[in-house]
Symmetry: C2
Subunit: 146 residues, 2 copies
DNA sequence: ACAATGTCGACTGAATTAGTCGTGAATACC
DNA sequence: GGTATTCACGACTAATTCAGTCGACATTGT
């Protein structure tokens, strides 16, 4: 039932990019270090995100990765679906072919949960996540200074 | 992000028992056949459910498995947790050790989703599932007769 | 005694996940 | 043009989890 590391890492990386929005490309190595992601693995994730149209990459010295569109326009739902494939807790929720229902009789519960989840994820933008993290850092600093 | 077959199969099996509540033990082979579960695998699931206190089993001829408590008192949440372990989509939601938060910054979203999910699952009893399935069968019959 | 049934644990095969590595391609800079 | 920097892509591997099988054993009704 766990999200795979792809989803977790991928979102972390995107938050990193969002926090550097407008500052030019961010390099893989930097992201990997800051977010504790194996760099060679992050490579794959960035490739996937690029193909999905979320990041743009530039090669050569001074190159790196940046958001392909504003952080406000990227929602967690689409991001995670690009990284993980479907988030459905049961296959039948995606396929939705009739006939399997008779066997199982629990789809309705999961359907509701799934719909709720998607709604919630769609409501959170990458910008909101980045902002939330900034907020969190600020209060953390305050706490340290007590 | 999928529920494993353990969860799916296990719940199917429990629904089966619920539908035969008060009719004496139901045999593994019957359940396996009706619910399309490999019998030798179902064995493990029943063992797990027995250890968790959801089913009682009797050996010998005429033996089988029955609910250890009324279907009304069994909720989907506890059932699934017995079968799957934690349902948390991220490990940090269970461990909740501080320090990992600074890295990631997406827990709050998942925490909400997770809480919601647990609430919903806790609100559904095995009795409700069984009843829902009966209902479904009835309308299916009606549809056939058009 | 014997047949029906559940109990338990060891084992296996398949699939998925989580990476690593090497080679190549674009680009900036001198 | 040469070189250093950085991304691009695919082949490969290791580790883990999932899904299931099997066989020997225990219990109980007849
Ligand atoms: S087959 Fe659809 S929920 Fe189990
Ligand atoms: S580490 Fe907690 S959500 Fe990623």
């Amino acid at each position: 039932m766990l999200l795979s590391t792809k989803g977790d890492y991928g979102v972390r990386a995107m938050i990193d990019l969002a926090k550097h929005e407008g500052e030019g490309p961010v390099q893989r190595a930097e992201i990997a270090k800051r977010r504790q992601i194996p760099e060679s693995y992050l490579d794959h994730l960035l490739a996937q995100l690029r193909r999905a149209g979320f990041v743009r990459s530039v090669r050569g010295p001074g190159g790196g990765h940046l958001l392909a569109k504003p952080a406000e326009e990227i929602c967690l739902l689409h991001l995670l679906e690009a990284l993980e494939g479907s988030l459905a807790p049961l296959q039948c929720l995606d396929n939705h072919e009739p006939g399997s229902e008779a066997i199982c009789g629990q789809e309705w519960v999961w359907q509701e949960i799934y719909d709720d989840m998607r709604r919630k994820l769609a409501a959170v933008s990458l910008a909101a996540l980045a902002e939330h993290e900034r907020e969190h850092e600020r209060t953390a600093v305050v706490n340290y200074s007590i």
